[in-house]
Symmetry: C2
Subunit: 132 residues, 2 copies
DNA sequence: TGACTTTTACTACATCTGTAGTAAATTATA
DNA sequence: TATAATTTACTACAGATGTAGTAAAAGTCA
């Protein structure tokens, strides 16, 4: 399951608190995000189409609930990144992380330890059952 | 600079060897990827538009060369991921990594060390000058 | 109950992405 | 130097994404 930028924003709100109404989500979006109410509805409908959320009615009002877990969404986003940008292996990703300038020396050292025994080509597992 | 899926494929070829012709790139794409020659040209033109590659002529033939570095492309892809999926902080990402089932116990242990002194909210730096 | 406010159900529309096709110009080749 | 193969320069077009708008139905409140 791939999420778009806007879908991540909504899902982040939903994971934080659910079930939620469109209005409720609107209230918990980051302050810079100023979407029309109908925009939020449109995006939620698309998420429901994809099977990432479930929509049900309470009286006349729609409530939304995540089906896709945060865990799984993260896993597949990370796999996508690793596959496209890091040769499909965690090793290069970790190498990259240890060169990040805002790591502390101790963190860097610990990461180096982790990489030492990195087997070849981890993370090449091609999206098999990443949903739910 | 954001790259799309197809753009990553081309850039990966270009970083590996450049300058390169469209035909040459076609030859170095992964075998499952079977794009028409003109598709590759279209994508390269879009990359040139974005300023990710430079296109120049050798006689009648176009040669391409990356302008965006692999390093920077990786950095910004990682930042995007961290921002949208991991609360804008490396900590949760690392937590996630240590729970990956195909880590060795020693790696896991080393990563745990790295996380211990994780400062709050790293990686929240909002895409400021991530190009070039 | 009449007048707002909210919600729903649809529709809209520009841009971006994936994936070419065509015609004309250039280059290689028999 | 015809003919074939390659490259260029443009155009095309469907599906995904971002971002709403409108009209009608339902709910709320004076």
């Amino acid at each position: 399951m791939r999420l778009t930028d806007t879908e991540w924003q909504l899902m982040n709100c939903l994971w934080e608190k659910h079930p939620a109404t469109a209005r409720g989500i609107a209230g918990r979006l980051p302050p810079q995000v100023k979407w029309a109410y109908t925009t939020i509805r449109t995006l939620l409908a698309r998420l429901a189409d994809k099977g990432a959320v479930r929509e049900y009615k309470e009286g006349n009002t729609s409530l939304y609930e995540p089906i896709l877990t945060r865990e799984n969404a993260r896993r597949s986003a990370l796999m996508t990144l690793v596959n496209q940008a890091f040769d499909g292996a965690y090793g290069p990703l970790m190498h990259f992380l240890i060169n990040d300038p805002n790591l502390t020396p101790r963190q860097r050292q610990a990461l180096e330890e982790a990489i030492k025994e990195q087997p070849e080509k981890q993370g090449e597992t091609e999206n098999g059952g990443d949903n739910q």
